[in-house]
């Protein structure tokens, strides 16, 4: 178990910098999720912590020790890869035991640890099988098992669930969370799925183009996004952005006002200045999503209780919200706070 610290971590491939300085202090046993769109540098960041990519500048400390030039095996980490990377010719048992064998752990200790991990992950019946004789979910578990048996100080996960179907993904997500709680191992988990990020994370890092836009507890990030990107990326359906000038706010040009769909309500047209035509609505049972087009062409989504009446397509509606729910972003995307 250990803390992990990243200090102004940067990575360049040739002349292109892809990670532009990331700082974070990760507490012992904390579950950190790195989330962001494709190509924003999540994997690169994780692989630097693993030691699979060199550090261009900055520092990585694991348990207070600078590991910038330490080999992966000596960093006391274990990694779960997106495609599992199981050794195809080895049995499940050997896959899990391989790292321990190299570390010259005594045979009976290896057997004990693998048996224990197999127990936790419900892999006992499959120990003699080859990876190709397993389902995707089982392979995923073996990859987890390979990480667990090493009793590392830090777990690193690179989109471990993205090859599974939706239902299994939800189940494995819960299992990973429970497992991490039980073992109390510091974890870094990369995903592009914001639901995974919200549900798993103690704190999350929202990455955007090689920059950590915001680091914080999921609900805090959701309620109080630091940039326009974070407001738009976290939360589904996405935040509505309206031109601040047109709303009559006194801010510099190009600024935007963001309002979450659940903070807008439809009202009679006479009550408000903002009105739009309903394009279509999605009744989901517990809630209804109403998509509207404003008179000036902007798209707005409203999320309302499923029990409320649903306006029909083509109908004109007024829109209203509380001023406290407005989030104002400057032209460069940074949140402006009053």
């Amino acid at each position: 178990m250990a803390t992990v610290t990243l200090e102004n971590l940067r990575k360049s491939y040739g002349n292109t910098e892809v990670i532009h300085g990331v700082d974070i202090d990760i507490a012992d046993g904390e579950f950190i999720v790195i989330v962001g769109p494709s190509g924003c540098g999540k994997s690169t960041l994780l692989r630097m912590v693993a030691g699979l990519e060199t550090v261009t500048s900055g520092d990585i400390l694991i348990g207070g020790r600078n590991v910038n030039s330490v080999e992966p095996m000596d960093r006391d980490i274990a990694m779960v890869f997106q495609n599992y990377a199981l050794y195809p010719h080895m049995s499940v048992f050997d896959n899990m035991a391989y790292g321990l064998k190299i570390a010259k752990v005594p045979k009976d200790e290896i057997a004990k640890r693998v048996a224990n991990a197999a127990e936790i992950l419900q892999l006992v019946p499959y120990l003699t099988r080859k990876p190709r004789e397993l389902s995707g979910g089982q392979r995923q578990r073996v990859a987890m098992g390979r990480a667990i048996v090493r009793k590392p100080a830090v777990f690193l996960f690179d989109e471990p669930l993205s090859n599974l179907d939706a239902k299994l993904r939800v189940q494995m997500r819960l299992e990973i969370k429970a497992l991490q709680r039980d073992l109390g191992v510091t974890s870094l988990y990369v995903t592009h799925d914001q639901v995974e990020a919200m549900t798993l994370a103690d704190r999350m890092i929202v990455m955007n183009g090689g920059v950590a836009d915001q680091i914080g507890k999921p609900l805090e990030v959701y309620a109080d996004p630091a940039t326009e990107f974070v407001a738009g990326f976290i939360g589904s359906p996405s935040t509505n952005f309206l031109d601040a000038g047109r709303l009559g706010r006194r801010v510099e040009g190009g600024a935007k006002v963001g309002i979450r769909p659940e903070h807008i309500r439809t009202v009679a047209q006479s009550e408000t200045d903002y009105a739009g035509k309903v394009v279509y609505s999605e009744p989901l049972g517990a809630e209804t999503l109403i998509h509207l087009k404003l008179l000036d062409g902007e798209d707005v989504t409203v999320r309302q209780e499923g029990a409320l009446p649903i306006p029909s397509e083509g109908e004109s509606c007024g829109l209203a919200w509380e001023a406290k729910d407005e989030m104002v972003f400057a032209k460069d995307g940074i949140r402006l706070r009053q």
Binding site: G51, L52, P88, Y98, I102
Partner: protein
């Protein structure tokens, strides 16, 4: 329904035709081998006096024993051993060297990596026959005429095998090497524990091909072995043909030919399962 029957009939008659074609083809190929076998079981007179017999005679043990122990120039037993050493040496040596060079080219970033790869690739265009004179010169200067090392070493580098292993290694996902690295495996450990077992079927397929390649070498052994006790069997057969007016000892020559075919056939049969698997699928 009727139409369906018609189709089935058509298909089965087609099946018979294909079978017939294949049987004729096999018989066509097999007939000379059969003749050789027959010739190796009769005596000299039976061969020389037409018509040629089509059924085996009673001299099987006598002819084969004579071939194995005394032969014409050298006992076939010795030539078989020589061929075996040469074929095994070439096949195993080629596989070991090309595995290692492919490993180096795919997994290590060293200066001149691409240059070396293309150099190896270039040698594909230079078969033994093209470079046989300078090679002979080198081997002679090293004093390796009439020796196993002289038979094996010049043929041991293989661009083809290196190329095949390179292609195979490039299909192995990078994550596997990374997982091994996280597990603490040093490069050679990764090579022996993971890459080598994964290449098992490819190695088997190549072994069969290269063993036969080595076994069938003719020109090179002919050049560098002057001592009959170093003759390999394929060139040995040719050496048995008489020069001038001597009469050929056909039963012994034919027995030798049959003996020369047995080891490659055994290798193919023994490795058949792995061989076919290696050619059609790769296990990942």
């Amino acid at each position: 329904m009727a139409q369906q029957n018609g189709m089935v009939e058509k298909r089965s008659s087609g099946l018979w035709l294909t079978h017939l074609g294949m049987i004729v083809g096999v018989a066509f190929i097999f007939f000379p081998i059969w003749l050789a076998f027959v010739a190796s079981t009769v005596d000299q007179q039976a061969i020389v006096r037409p018509p040629m017999p089509l059924l085996p005679g009673d001299k099987f043990f006598e002819n084969y024993a004579r071939a194995l122990t005394s032969g014409v120039n050298a006992p076939v037993g010795i030539m078989l051993v020589n061929s075996m050493v040469m074929a095994l040496g070439i096949a195993l040596g080629k596989i070991a060297i090309s595995l290692l060079s492919a490993f180096a080219i795919v997994y290590f970033r060293f200066p001149g990596r691409h240059l070396f790869f293309w150099l190896i690739f270039l040698t594909l265009m230079l078969p033994v026959e093209v470079r046989i004179v300078p090679t002979y010169e080198v081997i002679a200067n090293f004093g390796m005429l009439n020796s196993y090392s002289g038979l094996i070493l010049p043929l041991i580098a293989s661009a083809t095998a290196t190329f095949l292993f390179r292609q195979f290694f490039m299909t192995v996902p990078d994550e596997l090497a990374e997982a091994a690295r996280v597990d603490g495996a040093k490069p050679m450990r990764f090579f022996f524990d993971i890459l080598l077992p994964m290449s098992r079927t490819n190695i088997a397929a190549l072994f069969v091909i290269l063993f036969i390649y080595g076994w069938n070498q003719y020109l090179w052994p002919l050049l560098i072995t002057t001592d009959p006790s170093m003759n390999t069997i394929v060139m040995g057969i040719k050496q048995m043909f008489p020069s001038g007016d001597d009469t050929a000892d056909w039963p012994v020559i034919m027995a030798t030919s049959i003996l020369a075919m047995i080891p490659p056939v055994l290798v193919v049969i023994g490795m058949q399962r792995l061989f076919v698997r290696g050619l059609v699928e790769s296990e990942k």
